[in-house]
């Protein structure tokens, strides 16, 4: 089993390296190799699952590691930790990853830098698998950073486009802000443990020791918040969520990968992995829950006014991530991971279908997507699968989304009423914006000649549709997957509540209906959103997060930088460096004034010198 897990980890890496060195200029081969690699990893994961299930123990946890930096006070390991959670995530990452790789082969066909694309994609998968398999903090942090790097490279894949390059940088930097917190969290945890004689970064060891010693709660609170800052960065929780919508500048399959299987899932996964730690600090959990709840509604509302199909999906991801984080914050990792799983299916599905649409229609604006025949007819598979994804996202039974969302809502119903209301409100918003999207794209026909070129919209090839169909299947059936064996140790499923189910389904239906009615006839981009919702302006400005950050960067950071630079120039260089030179020259000129050139003055100086010496040494001396 250990060997299998190592194989899963390194296959994508070796693929990436191989492509990097040999196949950069041969895109087709690169694509094939990468996909095969990913598929092989998936098969390994399946084999691992088989082995794992055939083990006799109740909830086996397997671990293996090598010492990477065997330092006496703080040995850093590199290892794998296999338990149910790991295997679940492995399956998600490699499974959905394989589909996305397959899809990409066709999607990226015409791009000449395709080799680079697949190398980065494999690197991305490798980084994510590293996080999943990691058995200690440092390794997690390493791959955490590598995920950031891969996202940077992939979001900025079309780097000639200014926006893409900026978005990649933004993603990297924003998540890095979180990483600063994470690093500090790790360091303070380690610092405390080391002072108690347990110098280790190992999850299992720490978990075990924490049963006998307790960390002082302020410190634990700080540690948890630090770690959560990192998680919030990667999982795009407010206020570090700003990178995610911008990340849509990357190729669509990359978005699918980021939103479904990697990156954003990493944060939630880590939260679940470290739940033993967070569970000990209720105060931290409260912060986490609120962050999740607020992020969910924040993103759900902003999605309502977006016009770019990918951006709508991006905000929906944000709000769904908010759900997951909320569930974990409420002390229910099961619900969170469950939703992570189902969300992975339907969000990948949504993105890939959206990608298929974009591929065919060459636009991302939902106002421009309708065709004369209607998309349902010209691209049936894509449309149907997209619709299935929408249903799952809205949480309509019997799709998978229904079950997972139900368990989160059930968990929320036990928590703070405000949080519960937020969660419910988000159900409505979700279906509203998805309703708006579907109405505009699928249920309207174009009457304008301007869009004639869209006549030609045709269904994509098999490499793109097969992943869609498979994902659609899982989006429907995913809710019935038996996840308990994987997550047993980490929480419980809430008892089913009919009232809650009814309320949520009703809200979802209502939202969709509203949207359908409202946008059925609209064909103008300049819709006026009026008084029955929060002023449109705020939403269009995305609650001013970006503006505030820009202002911060502009007014605070740039000014600190400018002040440093000025200080350097005026004080350190001009004052210290040139100042000492000036002082020397001034003294030098003073010395020069003695050299009057008059020989008598020289003689006088001579005589005075002799006199002083004689006076000091003889007359005032020992007499």
């Amino acid at each position: 089993m250990i060997t299998l897990s190592w194989a899963i980890l390194w296959t994508p890496f070796l693929t990436a390296v191989f492509i990097f060195f040999f196949l950069l200029s041969r895109p087709r081969a690169a694509g094939r190799l990468a996909t095969c690699g990913m598929l092989a990893a998936f098969l390994c994961a399946l084999a691992l699952l088989w082995d794992y299930l055939s083990l006799k123990e109740a909830r086996p946890v397997l671990e293996s590691s090598i010492l990477w930096i065997p330092f006496a006070p703080s040995p850093v390991e590199f290892g794998v930790l296999i338990d149910g959670l790991t295997i679940l995530m492995l399956l998600i990452v490699t499974g959905i990853g394989s589909l996305i790789f397959l899809y990409s082969m066709s999607y990226m066909e015409r791009d000449e830098s395709c080799g680079r694309y697949f190398a980065c994609l494999s690197l991305f998968a490798f980084s994510m698998l590293g996080i999943v398999l990691s058995n200690n903090f440092i390794q997690t942090f390493i791959f955490w950073e590598l995920v950031g790097l891969s996202s940077y490279l992939l979001i900025g894949f079309w780097f000639e486009k200014r926006e893409a390059a900026t978005a990649g940088k933004k993603a990297f930097l924003t998540t890095r802000v979180g990483d600063v917190g994470m690093m500090i969290g790790i360091l303070s945890l380690f610092g405390y443990l080391a002072s108690r004689g347990i110098g280790t970064f190992n999850f299992l060891l720490i978990e075990e020791r924490l049963q006998t010693i307790s960390i002082p709660s302020p410190l634990l609170y700080a540690v948890c918040l630090g770690l959560f800052l990192g998680i919030a960065g990667k999982s795009a929780q407010a206020p570090l969520h700003v990178w995610l919508p911008d990340a849509m500048e990357g190729p669509t399959p990359v978005s699918a990968l980021i939103h479904a299987a990697t990156m954003v899932a990493a944060g939630v996964f880590l939260l679940a992995r470290l739940f033993f730690l967070f569970a000990q600090s209720p105060a931290a959990l409260l912060v986490i829950a609120w962050t999740g709840g607020i992020t969910a509604v924040l993103a759900g509302t902003v999605a309502v006014v977006q016009n770019d199909i990918k951006k709508i999906l991006a905000y929906s991801t944000l709000s769904q991530l908010g759900y997951m984080v909320l569930a974990l914050g409420l002390g229910n990792p099961y619900a969170g991971m469950f939703h992570l799983t189902t969300h992975a299916f339907f969000k990948a599905l949504l993105f890939l279908s959206a990608g298929s649409l974009i591929h065919a229609l060459h636009t991302q604006n939902i106002w421009n997507m309708r065709t004369q025949k209607g998309l349902l007819r010209s691209m049936p598979i894509t449309s149907v699968t997209f619709f299935i994804g929408t249903l799952a996202l809205m949480g309509i039974p019997p799709t998978s989304g229904y079950f997972s969302k139900e368990s989160i809502l059930a968990a929320a119903s036990h928590g703070s009423p405000v949080l519960f209301i937020l969660a419910l409100a988000n159900v409505f918003f979700t279906s509203f914006y998805m309703g708006r999207l579907c109405t505009l794209v699928f249920f309207q026909k174009s009457h304008s000649a301007r869009q004639n070129h869209l006549h030609t919209a045709r269904e994509s090839g098999w490499k793109m549709t097969i992943p869609l169909i498979i994902l659609a299947g899982f989006s429907i059936g995913g809710g019935f997957l038996p996840l308990h064996p994987f997550l047993g140790a980490r929480g419980h499923s809430e008892p089913h509540s009919n009232t809650l189910a009814l309320i949520s389904i009703a809200l979802a239906g209502l939202g969709f209906l509203f949207a359908f009615l409202r946008y059925q006839k609209k064909s103008h981009e300049h819709e006026t959103l009026d008084s029955w919702m929060t002023p449109r302006f705020i939403l269009e400005k995305k609650y001013f997060f970006d503006d505030v950050y820009d202002a911060f960067i502009h007014f605070v950071q740039e000014n600190i930088a400018r002040v440093s630079d000025l200080f350097e120039r005026r004080v350190v260089v001009e004052g210290g460096m040139n100042g000492s030179a000036r002082l020397t020259r001034r003294l030098s000129r003073l010395v020069r004034t003695l050299q009057t050139g008059v020989v008598q003055f020289y003689a006088l100086f001579f005589a005075a010198g002799v006199t002083v010496i004689i006076y000091v040494l003889i007359l005032s001396g020992k007499s």
Partner: protein, 484 residues
């Protein structure tokens, strides 16, 4: 054997002096051969180095000036083995850049080889006199190299750099002489002095005074805030291969000598100043980072960045734990290689375009993929990305220093973010975006001679990023033996 490291370059320099300057083709061959030989020699030493064996290896000792207890004594332990490797890498990479110099090539290579040999001298010698001798010898070639072959304000930069480092060195010389005087058995033999002081340390106030002298003196070249200002100015002025060697290797002599003299011989004095040193390093990290943000010249940016990174090194040294000091040594290596790669990239572009503003370029990623990739990789290494040895080094520094000064480590972690800000900005403006047609003439690195330096340096960073133990197994025992 070990003296060959120093003397091969000197002899080669002499050979170059004898070669008539018309024989343009022979000059680079001599220089490259010398650097390659020393490189191979260093690898050989690395190969035969036994990390588990305590003390210095390959020790040689030639009585030199017995009246003053001076001996030509050289040897390697894990720390200077690492630094020799760093120098071997950077000097070999640098000579390929140096050999492309068009103006007065003969003199340039002559000075370059003198510089290379003297640096080996500093890193191998274990006698305070010779340490200082080689340390100052590096100044002889630096002034003309920067002054003649440099760019932008070169005279000013050369003068500042030389004077600052000399002033620091003079103070350090004072410290060394005091140390010599106070140990009282008339020897400059560093091994004996260290051993002696382990058993019979000086009184506290003596240690404090001496440590202060050493710290300030060698702190100048380590660009300890606020003594750093020569460094961005000097690097901006220097020609590429000098920037590479200086930022990459010479700067590391400061922390190295602080380790060797202040930390090993005067631990109590070091401990006395450690808080102050840590605070200054912390200020340096953030200050230089922010200053780098507002630079418009790539070389200035990298210059400030190197100040910022040396802050990490000094922070690690100030914490005085095995982990942090090992991290500091590893960072000296990693940052050296990284900085060299960075300056090589900038130099490569500057050579052809005579521009090096952050905003002068754009879209080089398409036009010159190899160079852009090198630039990106060097940036990533610099901002502490895992996979490059810089990450491991910074991590060790953080872990090792956390207990002493959590606040400063927190700020230092923030510094990593600041590094990312300016480097990614630079990468974006240089490599990404639309191609600036002004640079249509720009050629990517094509021949192996052009590519070799980058492959060598970045390869080393990656190698030890994946396998840090390769260096740490050398560094850690040596550091362990050095710390009280």
């Amino acid at each position: 054997m070990i003296f060959l490291l120093t003397w091969i370059p000197f002899v080669a320099a002499f050979l170059i002096l004898l070669t008539p300057s018309e024989k343009k083709s022979a000059l680079p061959i001599i220089a490259k051969t010398a650097c390659l030989l020393t490189f191979l020699l260093t690898i050989g030493f690395l190969w035969r180095f036994r990390p588990d064996q305590p003390g210095y290896q390959f020790l040689i000792r030639i009585e030199w000036f017995p009246a003053f207890g001076i001996a030509y004594q050289a040897g390697l332990d894990g720390i200077n083995m690492t630094l020799c490797l760093l120098h071997a890498l950077v000097s070999l990479a640098g000579v390929f850049t140096a050999a492309r110099e068009k103006k007065r090539l003969k003199e340039y290579l002559f000075f370059y080889l003198i510089l290379v040999g003297a640096i080996y001298g500093v890193f191998t010698c274990l006698d305070l006199f010779f340490l200082y001798l080689f340390y100052e010898t590096t100044l002889i070639p630096l002034y003309p190299m920067i002054g003649i072959w440099g760019s932008k304000n070169k005279e000013y930069g050369a003068m500042q750099l030389t004077l600052f480092i000399t002033a620091g060195a003079a103070l350090a010389l004072f410290g060394i002489l005091l140390l010599y005087q106070k140990t009282g058995f008339g020897t400059f033999d560093l091994i004996r002095i260290t051993e002696h002081l382990k058993n019979a340390p000086f009184a506290a106030h003596d240690q404090n005074f001496l440590a202060a002298l050493i710290l300030i003196g060698f702190g100048v070249i380590a660009s300890l805030w606020p003594l750093h200002s020569w460094s961005p100015i000097g690097y901006a002025a220097a020609p590429t291969s000098v920037s590479m060697l200086h930022a990459g290797v010479l700067k590391k002599m400061g922390p190295y000598l602080i380790l060797r003299i202040a930390l090993a011989c005067l631990p109590a004095g070091m401990a006395h100043w450690s808080t102050l040193l840590a605070v200054l390093s912390g200020i340096g990290i953030l200050y230089a980072g922010y200053a780098a943000i507002s630079q418009k010249d790539l070389k200035f940016m990298v210059g400030f960045s190197s100040v910022s990174h040396m802050g990490y090194v000094l922070l690690g040294i100030a914490a005085m734990t095995v982990t942090s000091v090992s991290g500091a040594v590893l960072l000296m290596f990693s940052h050296g290689v990284m900085a060299a790669a960075m300056f090589a990239v900038i130099g490569f572009i500057y050579e052809q375009t005579h521009a090096r503003g952050v905003f002068d370029f754009g879209g080089l990623g398409k036009k010159a993929p190899f160079i852009s990739m090198s630039f990106i990789m060097a940036s990533l290494a610099s901002l502490g990305l895992p996979g490059f040895s810089n990450f491991v080094a910074e991590l060790l520094i953080f872990i090792g220093s956390w207990e002493k000064s959590p606040v400063l480590v927190g700020l230092a972690v923030l510094g990593v973010l600041i590094t990312a800000i300016y480097l990614l900005r630079a990468v974006q403006h240089v490599c990404y975006g639309e191609f600036n047609p002004k640079w249509n003439q720009l050629k990517d690195a094509v021949t192996w001679q052009e590519k070799f330096p980058f492959v060598l340096l970045l390869g080393a960073l990656l190698l030890f990023g994946f396998w840090p133990q390769g260096l740490l197994r050398l560094i850690q025992p040596a550091v362990g033996a050095m710390l009280p």
